[in-house]
């Protein structure tokens, strides 16, 4: 049975990366010294799946490495080894190394052999040292592995074992690799051919396996079928038992040799899966969807029946049907959008590790508190918000939280707290990063800004305005450049990235008390609330989030600056006017005079601007379509959408549009 395994590689990698995440978060949650067995078990299972998968797919290097990892975990699980900080650190590093190996297997590049070897040495070092001190349950170990020269195994699978995807032949082959094997098959249960169900397993085996094999290794092979068969393993005791010393040396079997021979088995399984990403969806969401489609089909058939023999008396029925259709379509749309939604914990999960490592690095004591991890957000956003979030959290650790001694001096608890909150608020998702560190020193920031020429000397700024300065390009107050931050990627990039996702980031800070960064993001990138406007014969869509208000203005409040640029006065503020018709070169705009049309006051980069259009049409949700797929990026336009009548309308990119108007 030869199957092209390469087609499953993507699934394998996805699952393995998930497994690594589980291991990582599990390791983070372990209480040193008094670890919950169930937690270790979870970690162990994740490691075991990775090992199994990588073995199946021919990634021998990964399988061997995971095997060593697993041995350590197994000892912890059985209570033969204490959960020490040293061991957890080593395991965490191993997860990193595994992730690297997995990455290189995925991209089909060579992994860093030195690093793997180093990590293996470290693991083996721990395995070698710790076990003796905790007195690894010696007697039965000796009896089961060292003293035995082989095993008598009785393996009688239940009839339906093959249905679950386990193949006894494979298991026997695996055993055969361990040593010399003799197999006796029990055929007595085998029925007549007429009664034989080809999917059932009627056979049983007595296996005599000779060789110095540890019980664990055998147990591993049968791990997946334990519950589905009658299994007994009897060690064959050697006629002449080896001297006790040799047996003890043999106590760490099977885990030392494997990696050296790192055979490049995956050469044939090369083609790494392409970069297309997939998404795991809860079955309940799919069920919802199917229900919704069912409803839609019913409504559709009702309507078509109505249309076949329509008379005016049935008008009311038709309208009812249409209302239903509209409701179902909307519900369907909502459920489809929900499929793209994932809990933000996918993004949050990396932070415990980050905080732990960084705080240890910087000699700070920090506790991370997360809430609202189940808040759901669009998958694309999860991927894109990761880096800005990491930057902000790093920033809080590095610049926010003080060293323990400084904190005590300032009368704060020794351990600093960083809180990550996520919640929904009015069609947005809000992520807060709160720290109780030293906050932002307004005078220092202001002086720095003046020094850098960002604000004129002697400027009178509110605290809020000063705090906002840290988002300016070229601003970094870190006195010394540390490993963590201050390497040129500044808060301006964070703000830019978040803005490009259609969101916003704000800071509130009290000097000496701490800072709060608030990120606001739209729930999804695929749909937006828009205001349709008309200029000439053309319809455009303005994202509702950029609109402050829409007004009709009187000629008294219009100013012409130097005969060219137009501004108007709104509540003591002079706001520039941008005529959409001139920026976009739209012919036959109806409103020539500013009094005849409407001004949509929009805001981009916190600067207001009056966008002059002929008229407002309606507010509606629009599905964003890419212009770049078949054409290219267009200045001042972020995308396109299809209106109710099937025609295309362009969605305005307000910040881009304003930049264009400056150029004009």
């Amino acid at each position: 049975m030869s199957v092209d395994l390469a087609q499953f590689h993507q699934v394998f990698f996805e699952e393995s990366f998930e497994g690594l995440d589980i291991m990582e978060s599990g390791l983070m949650g372990l209480d040193l010294g008094d670890a919950d067995n169930e937690e270790i078990n979870t970690i162990f299972r994740a490691a075991h799946s990775i090992k199994g998968g990588s073995g199946t797919f021919g990634f021998k290097e990964i399988a061997d490495f995971t095997h060593v990892l697993e041995t350590l975990l197994d000892e912890m699980r059985d209570g033969r080894r204490q959960v020490t900080r040293e061991a957890v650190d080593a395991l965490l590093h191993s997860v990193d190394v595994l992730r690297m190996m997995m990455d290189s297997a995925k991209d089909d590049t060579d992994s860093d052999k030195d690093q793997i070897q180093k990590q293996l040495k470290e693991l083996e070092g721990i395995l070698g040292s710790g076990s003796a001190t905790t007195g690894m349950s010696a007697p039965d170990q000796v009896a089961s592995s060292g003293g035995a020269t082989g095993w008598n195994i009785r393996f009688i699978p239940e009839p339906d074992m093959m249905v679950t995807g386990n193949d006894p032949l494979k298991i026997i082959r695996e055993l055969a690799e361990l040593g010399e094997i003799e197999v006796q098959t029990h055929t007595e249960k085998l029925p007549n051919l007429a009664e034989l169900n080809p999917e059932d397993c009627y056979l049983g085996w007595d296996i005599r396996l000779t060789g110095d094999i540890a019980e664990d290794v055998l147990k591993d092979i049968f791990l997946w079928v334990e519950d589905e068969c009658e299994l007994s393993m009897q060690p064959i005791l050697a006629a002449v038992t080896g001297s006790p010393t040799t047996t003890e040396v043999n106590n760490q079997p099977a885990m030392v040799e494997p990696v050296q021979e790192a055979v490049n088995k995956n050469a044939e399984a090369k083609k790494a899966a392409a970069g297309s990403s997939s998404i795991r969806v809860g079955i309940d969401k799919i069920d919802d969807l199917i229900n919704m489609v069912g409803e839609l089909v019913i409504t559709q058939s009702m309507l078509s029946l109505l249309g076949e023999e329509f008379s005016i008396e049935k008008l009311e029925k038709l309208q009812d049907g249409l209302v239903q259709l509209e409701r179902h379509t909307r519900e369907l749309q909502e459920s489809v959008m929900l499929i793209r939604m994932l809990p933000i914990s996918f993004s949050f999960s990396r932070f415990p590790r980050l905080v732990r490592d960084l705080s240890a690095n910087l000699g700070k004591k920090i506790e991370l508190v997360m809430s609202g991890e189940n808040t759901e957000i669009d998958k694309t956003l999860i991927e894109k918000i990761g880096d800005p979030l990491v930057h902000l959290v790093r920033n809080s650790i590095d610049h926010g939280i003080e060293k323990p001694e400084d904190r005590i001096k300032a009368g704060k608890p020794e351990t600093g707290t960083i809180k990550l909150n996520a919640f929904h608020k009015g069609g947005n998702i809000v992520i807060e990063i709160v720290d109780d560190g030293k906050g932002i020193d307004p005078t220092a920031v202001l002086n720095k800004a003046i020094e850098k020429g960002l604000v004129p000397a002697g400027a009178n700024l509110t605290n809020q305005q000063i705090n906002d300065l840290i988002f300016q390009p070229g601003f970094s107050t870190a006195k010394e450049i540390t490993d963590v931050s201050g390497r040129g990627v500044g808060m301006d990039v964070v703000r830019k990235n978040i803005t490009s996702l259609g969101g916003a980031v704000e800071i509130q800070s009290t000097f000496g008390k701490g800072s709060v960064f608030t990120i606001r993001l739209p729930l999804t990138l695929a749909i937006l609330d828009g205001q349709t406007v008309i200029v000439g014969d053309e319809i455009y869509i303005i994202p509702l989030v950029s609109i402050v208000e829409s007004i009709q203005i009187k000629s008294e409040i219009i100013n012409k600056v130097a005969g060219k640029g137009e501004t108007f006065k709104l509540r003591d503020e002079y706001i520039p006017i941008v005529r959409l018709s001139s920026v976009f070169g739209i012919p036959n705009a109806k409103a020539k005079k500013l009094e005849d049309g409407l001004l949509v006051v929009v805001e981009a980069d916190r600067k207001p601007c009056g966008l002059f259009v002929d008229d407002l049409l309606s507010q509606q949700q629009v599905v964003i379509k890419s212009l770049e797929q078949n054409y290219q990026r267009v200045d001042g336009v972020s995308g396109a959408t299809i209106l109710g009548d099937g025609s295309v309308a362009l969605i305005l990119d307000i910040p881009g549009l304003l930049r264009m108007s400056v150029r004009h």
Binding site: Q629, N630, V648, A649
Partner: protein, 178 residues
Amino acid sequence: MNATAAVENSEQHDAYHLKEDGDEYLTFRLANEEYGVDILRVREIRGWENVTRIPNSPDFVKGVLNLRGAIVPIMDLRIRFDLPQEEYTPTTVVVVLSVLVNGGEKERIVGVVVDAISDVVNAKMTDIQSTPDFDASIEIEYIRGLATAGEKMLMLVDVDKLLNIEEDVSHFEHDETE
């Protein structure tokens, strides 16, 4: 898997057409001259309908159209070839083509406006360099070669070059700044 299948197909296709002595082309009329495009590149042919203008685009890009949910740019070949412009008539059609950009890595869908569709012919391409006295009013860079189908001479349009919008637009912007 897919790639090899595609190669096989095209080989079959070539083998098939070698017997017929040439490839199949969709021919269309533009200012009383006949042009041809590789029929395998033609996605569909549809009547002219109003499009949504794209601001600040080159003049040969008429706008974008909703083609079953995809946003497809439509360009006027007369303007592209510097031919005199004419009002669109009931026979004016849009030929929807698939265009390979980035050296064939990416496929794009583009519609071109032509005067009318003429025929589907089998023809063999002659290299344009071998016809030195070739004299047409359009820029030669968009023509891949010539072909004769019966009495008529066809100019075979190089679809990928002709519709490589990015190049053209950067060209256009360049012009504008000068």
